[in-house]
């Protein structure tokens, strides 16, 4: 089987028993818990999208290892077209579910692994790339949902990993055995790991000599003993958990963005699943290559898909109160489009200017400068977009009563009187709830930090930009002599 459908994915999830804790209790079945189910349903939609012939160009790729059709979430980009379709996939998936494509981080992690393990085998004579390609064939053959775990808990930021009082704040090596390694430690903010078949674990950042124990990359099965997931829990989780009907919520089926803290308590990883162990020199470039891919996709396409939804909801809110033709409303809508499309343009540019890295590997990665510009632009732009959604949507975005209250015989008529405008009250309340999901939800900080906080993009842009060349150009135009 090379392509699973949504039902097959859901059936496979029913068989898995990851150790998941959510909101004060252990979750025995991800599909029976309203909060965890929203994450699984979003992943199922990723499979459904690939089933639809009209999405084939975007969602289905050809495996470079077997020549078989595969879900693009498991594809290693081999050319510019692959990069372009990858960012288009990020756009399409966000537009469709209004939350994460939870296979996205895994996709970008495997592209980084394809490039970096190839480089390590070339430089060091290791077998990591061979192992990785075998794992990838297996993942492709079974169309596995793969998430990615990068961010360590990190502890005291003034201290290096080996200086932490609590060594588990970074995932690290406990034991090297003849048949594999034993690891422990904590990764945080892991999007959709609970509903994935496997997770690709990468180092959280560049490492130095002496920090070999923290230099690890591997693939781990979702429900392997020793691995525990502690889910995020917030007001939106509680609202979903205790609501009478999920249709009342801002994103009824797919929910907010669901993440978890992954705790590795002496987890065994066979050597066949290990893609880096101790080679500190390659950790920085492994993470940088991941970030290069993820900033194009997460920053320049995924959040643009969210922006499309927010703009759509905002237009409806304006129409429902009869202000859609007011000039300053139209101006704000245009600003929202300008901000999101500028980021998408950067993502397209990052794909088009992508190149093989390292030379000879056959792996294509996006242009770093455009990818970072895409992410930095949307990190700031997204706040502007949700600000305008709150502005045009009005106070109702945060003051609306429950939609079902409209049906109450006593207060329903009062609410209909209060909130009927150019459209019936139920439409206004529905769109207000939708905009609340965005404007007062989790996606603002999520967009800010996802794929790295803006300071990391500023640093990369400062490294990647040739400032001297720009000064030279200016001097030449002004007729100033070089000193």
């Amino acid at each position: 089987m090379a392509l699973k459908n949504a039902k097959e994915y859901l059936d496979s999830m029913k068989k898995l028993s990851p150790r998941v804790y959510c909101g004060g209790k252990w979750v025995k079945n991800l599909l029976n818990n309203k909060v965890t189910r929203s994450m699984v349903m979003a992943n199922a939609e990723m499979y459904a999208l690939a089933e639809d012939p009209k999405n084939k160009e975007i969602m289905v790729a050809t495996s470079h290892l077997t020549g078989e059709p595969i879900n693009r979430n498991l594809n290693v980009a081999r050319n510019i077209h692959d990069l372009d379709m990858r960012q288009e996939m990020a756009l399409l998936t966000s537009q469709t579910v209004g939350t994460c494509n939870y296979r996205c981080v895994g996709c970008d992690a495997l592209n980084s692994l394809a490039a970096t393990t190839w480089e390590m085998d070339r430089d060091l004579g290791t077998k990591y790339n061979e192992n990785f390609n075998k794992w990838l064939k297996y993942a492709q053959a079974n169309d596995l949902a793969v998430s990615g775990a990068i961010t360590d808990a990190k502890g005291d930021r003034k201290k290096r990993p080996s200086e932490q009082e609590e060594p588990d704040t970074f995932v690290h090596l406990v034991e090297k055995r003849q048949d594999g390694i034993v690891v422990r430690g904590i990764k945080v903010s892991q999007s959709g790991a609970i509903g994935s078949h496997e997770t690709l674990v990468l180092p959280g950042g560049a490492l130095r000599e002496g920090e070999e124990a923290f230099a690890l990359a591997f693939a781990v099965q979702n429900s392997v003993p020793g691995l525990t997931y502690i889910c995020q829990y917030n007001a939106y989780s509680a609202e979903r958990e205790f609501c009478e009907e999920e249709s009342e919520l801002g994103n009824p089926i797919y929910g907010q963005r669901e993440t978890s803290t992954m705790v590795f308590d002496n987890v065994f990883i066979p050597w066949e699943r290990v893609f880096l162990c101790g080679e500190t020199k390659y950790c920085g470039r492994m993470v940088t290559r991941f970030a290069k891919a993820h900033r194009m996709n997460c920053g320049g396409a995924c959040k643009v898909g969210f922006a499309d939804l927010i703009i759509g909801g905002t237009l409806l809110a304006a129409e429902y109160i009869g202000v859609e033709k007011v000039p300053h409303i139209q101006e704000k809508i245009i600003d929202m489009v300008r901000l999101s499309e500028t980021s998408h343009a950067c993502a397209i540019a990052a794909a088009m200017k992508g190149r093989e890295e390292p030379k000879g590997s056959g792996v294509f990665l996006p242009d770093d400068l455009f990818g970072n510009a895409a992410k930095l632009n949307i990190a700031h732009g997204f706040w502007e977009i949700i600000k305008n959604a709150g502005d045009i949507g009005g106070g109702l975005v945060v003051t609306a009563p429950k939609l079902k209250d409209l049906e109450d015989p006593e207060v329903g008529p009062m609410l209909k009187k209060a909130f009927s405008a150019a459209a019936p009250a139920d439409k206004r309340l529905k769109v207000a709830k939708f905009l609340q999901h965005w404007a007062a939800g989790l996606h603002g900080p999520g967009t800010w930090h996802g794929a790295g906080a803006p300071q990391t993009q500023r640093f990369m842009i400062s490294v990647l930009t040739n400032f001297d060349a720009k000064k030279k150009m200016a001097k030449k135009i002004m007729g100033m002599k070089e000193e």
């Binding site: 068989k15 003993p225 066979p270």
Partner: protein
């Protein structure tokens, strides 16, 4: 997509109950080693988090002898193994088994 075991880095694990092989599972090479680590070192079966399910576990003749606590029918034993192997990333398959898990119920 049919993958061959040897050159593709896969391994076949057979499940034996009594004298009969009751099923074959295909996983990435190293899956059996992972399964053994769970049973011997962590004392739990993948997919089952409760302690005490394993009464005995030992490596024997290159395979694994696994005795489960409680009285269980062959069908129940097979159900446990089906869940356990899928939870460690091995799916129903065919081919020559490299490893055998001999599963029994404690009498």
């Amino acid at each position: 997509m049919a993958l061959k075991e040897d050159d593709q880095g896969l391994e076949i694990i057979a499940v034996k109950i009594g004298n009969r092989i009751r099923g074959h599972y295909e996983g990435l090479a190293g899956t059996f080693a992972g399964f053994v680590y769970c049973c011997l070192d962590k004392k739990v079966i993948p997919g089952f988090h409760e302690a005490g399910l394993i009464a005995e576990a030992e490596l024997k003749d290159g395979g694994l002898l696994l005795v489960l606590s409680g009285k269980r029918t062959e069908t129940e034993l097979m159900e446990v193994m089906d869940i356990a192997l899928e939870n460690i990333g091995a799916f129903p398959g065919n081919g020559k088994a490299k490893y055998i898990i001999d599963i029994k119920s404690k009498k």
